[in-house]
């Protein structure tokens, strides 16, 4: 077979392969479009979870603040009553004082628990950062799928909006509630860094030497 015929034959096979590949890729259009839509839905769902957990955290904080306020008032009332009991007969006075001290102790313990609930609500900021990270990854995949789809089709997608990255997502990709470094390890790093004097701002410009 002459060389040109060989080339023509190979080119025909190649064209056939490309056509077949394009046909297969076109078959993938719908699954890709569906995946893109689902990614977008998953992303919206994550944002919804984020805003709902934040709203819930604030409702809990409202109640915790109210509890702390009631407990402070209870302790204060106990203190007032204690003054009043001083006027009672000594036998009764001791009985009432003991009970009053008990109430006051319980109010204080309850107040400490309320403070602990408040401290634990820091989880909301941490999970929010984790969800923002997941959303950002989904947005990235969605955008890549969109670009891939454009390549298959060779034209702008009709009726399909370009994925838009949500602005203002600020997060630490490694944020964790229990996995992080503990404070004493952080303190050791801070101390060694300050002692080594490696500051861009310079120690004299850091407000203090701590």
């Amino acid at each position: 077979m002459p060389f040109t015929d060989k080339v023509r034959s190979e080119l025909e096979k190649l064209t056939g392969s490309v056509d077949s590949m394009m046909e297969n890729l076109r078959k993938m259009e719908n699954p890709i479009m569906e995946s893109r839509e689902r990614l977008s839905q998953a992303n919206a769902q994550l944002d919804k979870i984020n805003s709902q957990t934040e709203a819930a955290a604030h409702q809990i904080l409202d109640m915790v603040e109210q509890m702390i306020d009631y407990q402070e008032k209870s302790v204060s009332l106990c203190s007032e009553l204690s003054e009043f009991f001083k006027r009672l007969r000594s036998k009764d006075r001791e009985i009432y004082r003991e009970k009053l001290n008990r109430i006051s102790e319980m109010a204080s313990a309850s107040q400490n628990n309320a403070f602990l609930i408040m401290d634990t609500l820091q989880f909301q900021d941490i999970t929010s950062q984790q969800m923002n990270h997941a959303s950002s990854l989904l947005e990235d995949i969605e955008s890549r799928l969109h670009n891939l789809f454009k390549v298959f089709d060779g034209k702008e997608l009709l009726g399909v909006e370009e994925p838009v990255k949500k602005e203002g997502r600020a997060y630490d990709p490694d944020a964790g509630f229990i996995e992080g470094r503990n404070q004493s390890e952080v303190d050791a790093i801070v101390t060694s860094t300050v002692e080594a004097g490696i500051t861009d701002a310079g120690l004299s410009d850091r407000g203090n030497r701590g």
Binding site: M118, G168, G176, R181, Q183, T199, D200, G207, G210
Partner: protein, 125 residues
């Protein structure tokens, strides 16, 4: 303690509320909130503060950009800065100190840690 004016910066409304409550419990009641570095600088233009407590990851202007800006601004550069963040990688902590942070707290923090760090920072002024 009562005279100390603090600027607390965090983009999370939940965290701002927790920090404010923790500070109130520790006796610091004069606290102004800001949502990010840009908002903080706007507030620092109209009021003076004795202490800045800032997060790292925030939109518009993050904590490190804010600290760098403060340390380069004559009127602001002597303000003590405490960073409260989830970032606990060694390089991040070193970067924060290099930028001019005085003390560094990792989230989730305890009220005792916050009080301890505030006392340390203020004792060194």
């Amino acid at each position: 303690m009562a005279d100390l004016k603090i600027l607390a910066i965090d983009d999370s409304p939940t965290m701002r509320r927790i920090i404010l409550n923790t500070l109130k419990r520790a006796g610091y009641t004069d606290v102004i909130e800001a949502t990010d570095g840009k908002d903080a600088l706007a507030k620092m233009k109209v009021s003076s503060f004795n202490l800045v407590i800032t997060d790292w990851n925030m939109p518009e202007m993050d904590g490190i950009e804010l600290v760098t800006h403060i340390r380069k601004t004559d009127d602001l550069k002597s303000i003590p800065i405490l960073m409260i963040t989830t970032r606990s990688v060694q390089d991040d902590i070193v970067d924060a100190i290099k930028a001019g942070v005085n003390s560094y707290i990792v989230k989730p923090f305890t009220p005792d840690t916050l009080k301890e760090k505030i006392n340390e920072v203020l004792a060194n002024i």
